[in-house]
Amino acid sequence: MVYENMVCENMVCGDTVCAFDKERGRAAMTREILVEISDNLQEGKANAVVELVLEALEAGVPPRTILDQGLLAGMGIIGGKFKANEVFVPEVLVAARAMNRGAEALKPALAAEGVRARGVAVIGTVRGDWHDIGKNLVKMMMEGKGIEMIDIGVDAPPERFLEAAREHGAAIVCCSALLTTTMGEIKPVVDLIKGSELGGKVKIMVGGAPITQGFCEQVGADCYTPDAATAADAAISLLR
């Protein structure tokens, strides 16, 4: 480590430390608190995450750093463990819940610095279909990637997808369908959005048990993924 090998020429004595040492101490403390945020987040300790986020702000750690190197870093690690089949979804979800609480505490500071979410996505299950779980999993995984999610629920008509995308300035619309007899309801959503002023600006993602890449292309959607984890990765790529 460079810091450890350097000799401070400005060392005085007693309890007085040089500017360099102050900086070194601050950097170490910042690293420590960010690691603590990440560790507590991975264990789903929401209250601890909130306290640590506030402590970090108090200590002058930039909000963007807290978000990227504390909260999102923690979610990245737990997400990686899920992909490696080391943990189950509940562990990821409690981590995501802790991240949301931490992000909420961070929000005013982020806003003050003009830092915005990675993007906004609208998510819903299409008209005539009440399946909720798959949609909720995708929502949680995307939130874990720092995307602001607008959940319009189940049995959602095409107009609600469009209205929500307009209202919240969404960059992505995610449509879920779990039945062979409701997957046809995805096309009206795609047609409505592509035919509106949002056409070409908003990307449409589709998923659900009967959905395939071929179906995605057939209805003119932009992206299909087979599960929640890959959906979150794909959303990040679409937002870049």
Binding site: N85, E86, V87, F88, V89, P90, L93, V94, G128, W130, D132, I133, N136, L137, G153, V154, D155, L179, T180, T181, M183, G184, E185, P210, D227
Partner: protein, 459 residues
């Protein structure tokens, strides 16, 4: 019908507990006896991708007729001794009871014609979708959703459906979250409090329709609960030990149908049916390896151990190399049943050997298969049924399932990954800490269940 109370299992001896035979078989007018020694195929089917509207209903009915005609023809070709065709209506066909009735009538008529033409025997199980979900739902037991379900049952029985069944959803709005977080307390609340409370009202009403129409109130699967857990576990999203526990505690909920008039056969995707058969002695339908067309599972063989009907769960009417998918699926079921019935014809010992081979081939590899073993199911059922009260019974079911899995691991009869073992302990601790009083659990849960509207359950 007066409410029945089960305080002991119908079966005492494991050697009586086998596929094809139930203590209380069901005899139909055409001579089929379900649970009388023969396992029959129960074929289920659905439409290819299409939107159901008034304009497309003629096309939909054409599919159903084609499917039913094809099944009758193949049943004749393969000398199938009888079959049940299950019609699981799609949501628009329950929201529009006349459409659902038309589907039912189409299939009933096709089977009647098949009987004349090919000499085959068939029966229809009618399963409307439980549409009591969504923003427009007024109340679980009154209002248009409730009325439409009962109207489908009444009209369907009127045009000839022999069996009435449902996959009821009372408590599902809470369980959907419970399963995502593997929150066993919430799962027990959803199934043992909300689900049971709903089942009492629903099955009293279905039994009433059966009484009016001469149809048979058959059974209610916890599909939206336990099968959701099974599918998520299959994808490694949630622990298999959680899914196995939910399966066993779902039996306390599905039993409520039988306390309120159901006579069987229990519905195919309700794998908890093995517990229902142990307790009530009524026949059950099961599905396993031949339902992979609808969903994958870790219980392909063990599910056959106690089946009186053998089902494919569902398959779309699409073309495969061998023919249309429902006919292909029916043939697979027919051969499975033929093997089981041939083993039975050789004598009880051979049937028990086949039963045990089915059990042993799956049960060491997955806890969900382990809890379906006939010996395990009977042992758990004997303890479970001693407990009075729906919540207490459901809680007991969870504890028994977890204890049996733990012992099986210790004895080397079940293999679990380390991360599954950690969850086994975590779930056991939670169940042990649950209150004895359902009122106390309800009080705790009401603040936690955002999607639950207690007024819809008169709570």
């Amino acid at each position: 019908m007066a409410r029945r109370v089960f305080t002991q299992t119908a079966y005492q001896d494991l050697s009586d507990f086998v596929y094809g035979r139930a203590l209380y078989p069901i005899t139909l007018g055409n001579g089929m006896v379900i649970g009388g020694g023969t396992v029959y195929p129960e074929i289920n089917f659905t439409l290819p991708p299409m939107i159901i509207t008034e304009a497309t209903m003629p096309e939909a009915l054409g599919h159903y007729q084609e499917i039913a005609d094809g099944i009758c023809r193949r049943a004749g070709d393969l000398s199938v001794p009888g079959f049940v065709a299950e019609i699981e209506l799609l949501p628009p066909m329950t929201f529009n009871p006349d459409w659902g009735t038309a589907v039912c009538e189409t299939v009933v008529e096709a089977i009647r014609r098949g009987g004349e033409k090919y000499g085959v025997k068939g029966a229809v199980r009618l399963t409307p979708v439980d549409i009591r979900e969504g923003r427009d739902l007024e109340h679980m037991w009154r209002g248009s959703h409730w009325e439409k379900i009962l109207r489908v049952f009444r009209q369907g029985a009127g045009v000839g459906a022999e069996f009435l069944a449902i996959e009821s959803v009372g408590g599902k709005e809470v369980h959907d979250e419970a399963v995502m977080y593997c929150d066993i307390a919430k799962s027990i609340f959803a199934l043992g409090v909300l689900g049971c409370r709903d089942m009492e009202r629903l099955w009293a009403a279905i039994d009433g329709v059966a009484g009016e129409t001469g149809a048979i109130a058959s059974g209610d699967t916890a599909c939206g609960f336990a099968n959701t857990a099974m599918v998520l576990a299959d994808r490694n999203y949630i622990p298999k030990v959680f899914a196995a526990t939910v399966r066993v505690l779902a039996s306390a909920r599905s039993l409520v149908a039988y306390e309120n008039g159901a006579q069987g056969p229990h519905k195919d995707c309700g794998y908890e049916g093995v517990y229902i058969k142990a307790i009530t002695g009524t026949p059950i339908s099961m599905e396993g390896r031949s339902s992979a067309c609808a969903h994958l599972s870790p219980v392909g063989n063990v599910a056959a151990c106690l089946a009186d009907l053998w089902s494919n769960e569902s398959v779309q009417n699409i073309k495969l190399l061998g023919g249309m998918a429902p006919i292909v699926s029916f043939e697979q079921l027919a051969y499975d049943c033929r093997l089981m019935n041939t083993a039975s014809a050789r004598g009880g010992e051979t049937a028990l050997l086949l039963r045990d081979l089915h059990a042993d081939s799956d049960s060491g590899l997955d806890p969900q298969a382990y809890v379906l073993r006939p010996d395990v199911a009977l042992e758990i059922a004997k303890e479970l049924v001693k407990v009075a009260g729906h919540y207490a019974r459901t809680k007991k079911a969870a504890g028994l399932a977890l204890d049996h899995m733990r012992k099986a691991v210790e004895q080397g009869r079940l293999w679990l990954r380390d991360k599954e073992l950690a969850w086994l302990e975590r779930l056991s601790e939670t169940v042990a800490g649950l209150p004895a009083d359902p009122g106390e659990l309800t009080e705790n849960m009401l603040g936690e269940c955002e999607k639950l509207d207690p007024k819809k359950y008169d709570m």
